[in-house]
Symmetry: C2
Subunit: 371 residues, 2 copies
């Protein structure tokens, strides 16, 4: 088929897998061999057109192969899975990505080369993403932090670096930013272009159950989450002890997406002795409906001059296609500005609550840090 | 149920997932909610008792939850999946592990504390596992190497280190040794005890399709694999350029398991100018049936004295419960020894073609290197 000739395996596939495949015009073709199934559907986070996330019915051929071509609303990364007679299953052709509290299929629908250049692996010096195991008192367990070190870290051995703590969203974990988010390539490219200061980026899992407490089931909310204590009592001390950091509030930033944005605000605004750079990616700034500038976050915004002197950057971004986040965030940024708080507002054009939004947030946010 | 009280979530589960669960006496309890399914089976690599890998029928309860308790032949790590009405699917409760050319569920059935101590994360200095992206001419693509750096690497900045190249098996990839294999904990513990020399361990994907060639479908054999060229022309030069290595044949080792053992022999025995330490984990030493010491591998064993002078260590190990590997390997080691070749033979008691065999191999092999 001539139309099919334009499809190539998605870059998120496991090696050799032909499906899902993607076309230059942004379509994605999914296939699953399930001859005994009665009905197979596709659930695609980020959805297609105006139809939502699905599930969308797939069509069976004579050999029992189910197929569907969709055009996601935005390109970039989307979680997906198949629903086979009611059972959610992964696609064996896809790499897995931790989301929804489980390992999930994912598809990268490529943008054009120019739009995608900032998050591609290019011929520039590359940093590393290091898996660092450490014992955390807060959880009484061994944990893994992912640490991005910039390209010159092992060469400039007399140099010390500022640190960005960068958090994933609900149901994800410390791997999200370096797989779905492609943060290492974004940082490599920004640093190579001289647009961002060389920095460490530390990514940990935003869930921390203290000993004796029950960890919520996958996908469940609630339970005791001591992530704030983990960051302050375990993670920052470990990072400053282990890496050549500039262990100072003006050399320490934190940002996060969605749930991670709320954790970032909770942790940084209540610990301004530790952080001077604050980023909220796709967060409403406050879980509660009422946002009173004078009283939210223990009144940290009540004295705008003092806040502006202490906080080097308050940065808020959201996708224009995620109204339930975009609208309250934009309103609250306006309220903060009206009260004299310096705040950067960033919009990701036509993207929803998805990783393309957060890649763009990181690209805008990182160059502003540590200047 | 009192018998169930002894089951705890498997350490390989995603956070909060209660199933699969494992008991102190080595049983594993699997559950899957699939109310619409007509038949659900468990496929467990490494099998149980003498029944093989399955599939084993699971039992449905009134709510459509399917359950089965099995006792794997050996503890340690086993790949598994469910077969739901003929379709192989992963367990949403499990982390995924790359094997069989796809992301696969896996379960760790814990050994007792003493037996497992060597591969647990313990209170010793920890190294890192670093994801290193580099451009490979052989494949004309960006690739990822995983690099273990020992605990003192960033502190002893004047020190240079020997390098072990360590390969996974068929259908796996560069992540296998640091997930299924727990190599970083094995190395940390050996180095902390003074039993192994601090070294770098480099793990790459053993598949390298040259440009213009077709990558085999997942799980398929065949196709052009230029992994030997990749190691020699791309990987070793990159590692020696990027890390503080001792770039000398007497400071360079290679080992691999199964397919990786064959690649190790192919690469090292034909490039003794590059390697002086050679390890074969669960490999038959030669794919062909006829093993003529005088002629195999281009006659490298024909002059035993010369071989023994050049090669610091030839090490061969296998599990006693994998006769199709164990028997030919043992026979061929005997033939090599009869011809005067120095060769270490290692047996992993009662384990099959599985990761517990290879953890034990690494524990025995690594302390012998670079002495």
């Amino acid at each position: 088929m001539s139309s099919e000739a334009a499809f190539v395996p998605a870059p998120t596939n496991v090696r050799g897998a032909l499906y899902p495949s993607v076309s230059a015009d942004g379509r994605a073709l999914f296939r699953l061999a399930a001859p005994e199934a009665s009905a197979v559907q596709l659930h695609l986070a980020g959805g297609q057109c105006t139809l939502g996330d699905g599930p969308f019915a797939m069509q069976r051929d004579a050999d029992g192969v189910w197929e569907l071509t969709v055009c996601p609303r935005a390109r970039g990364f989307h979680y997906y899975w198949f629903v086979v007679d009611g059972l959610a299953v992964n696609d064996p052709g896809s790499e897995t990505f931790f989301g929804y509290g489980r390992q999930c299929s994912g598809i990268e629908v490529p943008e054009d080369e120019v739009a995608a250049a900032y998050y591609q692996s290019r011929d520039v010096p590359h940093g590393e993403v290091r898996a660092r195991w450490y014992y955390a008192k807060t959880t009484a367990s061994w944990r893994r932090a992912m640490v991005y070190t910039p390209p010159d870290y092992d060469v400039a051995t007399g140099r010390r670096y500022p640190v960005l703590y960068l958090q994933h969203g609900a149901g994800e974990d410390e791997r999200g930013w370096s797989t779905q988010g492609r943060m290492q390539f974004i940082m490599d490219n920004l640093i190579a272009a001289g647009e961002a200061a060389p920095m460490l980026v530390v990514m940990e899992c935003g869930y921390a159950t203290p000993p004796g407490q029950q960890t919520p089931l996958p996908g469940q909310r609630g339970g005791v989450n001591a992530f704030d204590r983990l960051v302050i009592d375990d993670l920052i001390p470990m990072v400053d002890r282990t890496y050549r950091t500039l262990a100072d509030r003006e050399q320490r930033a934190m940002a996060g997406l969605s749930m991670g944005s709320m954790q970032t605000l909770d942790i940084t605004l209540r610990n301004l002795d530790l952080f001077a750079w604050i980023g909220s990616f796709s967060g409403p700034l406050l879980r509660e409906e009422r946002f009173d500038v004078a009283t939210v976050f223990d009144g940290v915004f009540a004295d705008a001059d003092m806040f502006n002197r202490r906080v080097k950057l308050l940065w808020v971004g959201a996708g224009t296609a995620e109204p339930r986040i975009y609208n309250p965030a934009k309103e609250r940024v306006a309220a903060l500005r009206a009260a004299g708080i310096h705040c950067v507002w960033f919009e990701s054009e036509a993207t929803d609550h998805e990783w393309l939004t957060w890649r763009r947030c990181l690209r805008d946010w990182a160059p502003r840090l540590f200047r």
